[in-house]
Amino acid sequence: MTEITPIIRVQAHDFDLQSELDALTAGRTDIGAIVSFVGLCRGEQGKLSALELEHYPGMAETEMRRIADLAIERFSLLGATAIHRYGKIEPGQNIVLVIATAPHRQAAFDGANFIMDFLKTSAPFWKKEHAVDGTAGDWIEAKGTDDTARDKWA
């Protein structure tokens, strides 16, 4: 059983990387490594006006917490944060933030990587493309490479 509680949020508004880093490190001297990952919306060579992120309220938070707990346990992390936005997100804006802290760098790298790989394949979020010409485009298709990335942790 882990006693470390990850910080999990699903929100429409943006997050601030520095405040999230501060929240994990404030008052501590045992952390030797922090790895943070920020996923952004790509413009797809000017074709995309926005991504619309839909989620399953309740289950999204529960899955993110389950994944973060697994990472804390497996890599002996000292802390973990996962924040995922929903709603319309424009190119250049943030979508997702993952932070892992640990005594040493390898656990922090692995922890953040693990959380992202599982978040992509099992947290209930879906992306829909909105084109610059105003048309609502297609739902983004799940990629087999994401499953492969997840399966390397088996």
Binding site: G39, L53, E54, H55, Y56, G58, M59, T62, E63, H84, I95, V96, M116, L119, K120, T121, S122, A123, P124, F125, W126, K127, K128, W139, I140, E141, A142, D146
Partner: protein, 85 residues
């Protein structure tokens, strides 16, 4: 028994509603039975669930396999493979 069904992404769009409460026949035992039953409810369901193998299902907000029994489910989520992150 009435069960609350919730739909997301293109499953929601094709069925044309985000959720509904439906009465399930007694012979609908597993998730696979449920998807096959829903497919028969009309053209919009047929469009959404044409390829049941790709559809993901959660019972009471936890992922389950298609072989899972649905007895006791308060809420069943039906959606495409996830594309967050």
């Amino acid at each position: 028994m009435k069960t609350n069904l919730v739909y997301f992404a293109w499953v929601r769009e094709r069925i044309g509603k985000p959720e509904e409460e439906i009465e399930l026949p007694a012979d609908v035992v597993t998730v696979r039975d449920l998807l096959s039953h829903l497919k028969g409810l009309g053209e919009e369901y047929e469009n959404a669930l044409q390829y049941p193998d790709v559809i993901r299902v959660a019972i009471n907000q936890e992922h389950v396999e298609h072989s899972e029994k649905i007895a006791g489910a308060r809420e069943i989520g039906i959606f495409p493979p996830m594309t967050g992150g």
